[in-house]
Symmetry: C2
Subunit: 332 residues, 2 copies
């Protein structure tokens, strides 16, 4: 699984950080998902190997402009680039009103169909390609959601070891067993598939969160009995350090580094990526306040594998849940 | 007068060119106008010395997304950056519907007032700061306008030479004459202001055009008797070369380099800047098609002072109507 950061600033863009946008795909897959689409997301995409033609779905966490004002442009550009495959949009209902209003008022003609799915009406079986998508309501000034992206469980896996041990050698009969059919051996013995199928494997899950001042909201995903995947990675906002968050007050309903890091530590999370930094934080260690302040605060409370995202960072999650960090070369 | 190109691509952004946006200001003035606001215009502004606090007005030529989809973000960012002065928007009526729809559907709260002026209701006296603004309807798929920006005529200029010759020396009496009052000299002679006032001076005009397949539409500005300014510079689209324009067909209603250059030549225009290039044209001379093809075609038909705009180009028009080209240093 691969995650590409297209924007890591909160509210307004800076010279080095665009507003929110994250690309997600399974490794070696051309098709991908876009989570949030702040203004300028399509510009960042030009510096990656992601293409608007292969975009399967756009997931929006909430209706604030820094998470959705890139939608009109990206939809228009996909159409001008020749896309004609339908595009799924999963988002809070106001996003549908926003898109429809833009289409109506700006004479936007798309050469493809938009399939809108209200995030509050996702079912246990909602998936895009091989990715199952669940959502949980977070705590913010407007309804904001986290998306849990799970590899579709691998079903009907054959117990190859047992088959070989019992003298049923690799061949067309394996295929029949895997598809749930009984087979009859040469000696007349009937073999039922259930005896040679392993339990379904729950695959890796990544959770990408919208703006949120209460990380404990993610706990509801754990208590959801239909959802037993392995959460390998959480991407969450850390808009401020604790000190600044206290100065700003509770109004904006964002998290500070301490708040999300403490929660991640309490759940034993293996990998945490922080993003959505207030533009007051400089990239360089000085002058203060700096992104380094956010990182230091997070490390004080979280002992797992921690990253602070930069634009055009790529993170690859391998089969063992290890996170590998690389970066697009922007040619600068 | 100074013009800053914030975007020079048509339809979609490229790695080097954003979609349409132009900054305009009088030299040594902090306040400025923005003409068109494609997505990512606010990102480009970060690389200039223009500020959202000092932005006096936004003028939109037409409702196509590559000329207006940056509006929601720039309005939001201006508010988040602390702007509280009202902002004027001059645009076709659909832009007002677009902005209102975005504000309503995306919970955008601005800390300042928007004063919308329908471009079709501009009067002869419409001005922003010292700039008089006129508009003319062009020819495009949707109503598209050119904006003529004219320095406010300098009125009540004293004929200083004549005053000195007649023995009326510099002093408070000059101010009275200039404000239209009569004065009485020590010898009792009454001096009427009209004898010492020069005719109003018509100042420089720059015309910045929206998408347009018929440059002759600009001629109506010349026949408008209320409009006798000196047009020193026209900024016009040259989306294609003639060859490509013929392949594309008349549907998109854009100009090729030949069409606008021939027109500019026929009017004796001194300075012409071309922009809004189809993304098919590469920045480098090869492979073909290249921006150089557009430039060569334009030079075949226009013998005046010609430029093809690049993003972050600055053009300064001096008092004698000479155009000086510089560029922002983006630190790359």
């Amino acid at each position: 699984m691969e995650i590409v950061f297209l924007g890591t600033s909160s509210g307004v863009p800076t010279k080095t950080r665009n507003v929110s946008g994250i690309g997600f795909r399974q490794q070696n897959s051309k098709s991908w998902l876009l989570i949030d689409c702040g203004e300028g997301t399509q510009h960042r995409i030009l510096h990656t190997n992601l293409s608007l033609t292969n975009l399967s779905a756009i997931l929006i966490t909430h209706v604030h402009g820094d998470h959705c004002y890139g939608l009109p442009g990206i939809l228009a550009s996909a159409s001008m680039s020749g896309r004609n495959e339908p595009l799924t949009i999963i988002a809070p209902k106001p996003i549908q009103h926003f898109i429809n209003a833009v289409i109506e008022t700006s004479e936007l003609n798309l050469n493809y169909q938009l399939n809108f799915i209200d995030v509050e009406k996702l079912t246990d079986s909602t998936s895009v390609g091989n990715i199952e998508i669940r959502a949980v309501l977070l705590s913010h000034r407007v309804p904001s959601f986290a998306y849990a992206l799970t590899e579709r469980p691998t079903k009907n896996r054959l117990d190859q070891e047992k088959l070989i041990k019992d003298g049923i050698l690799r061949g067309p009969m394996w295929g029949k067993l895997q598809s749930g059919q009984s087979i009859t051996l040469e000696n007349g013995k009937v073999i039922l598939p259930d005896n040679y199928l392993l339990p379904d494997k729950n695959n890796r899950t990544v959770i990408i969160c919208g703006d949120n001042d209460d990380p404990h909201r993610l706990a509801t995903l754990k208590s959801d009995t239909t959802f037993e995947a392995n959460v390998e990675l959480v991407v969450h906002e850390a808009t401020y350090t604790q000190e600044v968050a206290e100065k700003v007050g509770a109004g904006p309903q964002h998290s500070c580094a301490k708040r999300i890091s403490e929660y991640a530590e309490s759940t034993g999370l293996k990998n945490l990526i922080l993003t959505h930094f207030s533009p007051r934080y400089q990239d360089l260690p000085s002058p203060s306040p700096s992104i380094v302040d956010i990182e230091e605060e997070a490390r004080r409370y979280y002992s797992g594998n921690l990253f602070l995202a930069n634009d055009l960072d790529i993170f690859r999650l391998d089969k063992n849940g290890n996170l590998i960090h690389t970066k697009y070369n922007t040619g600068k």
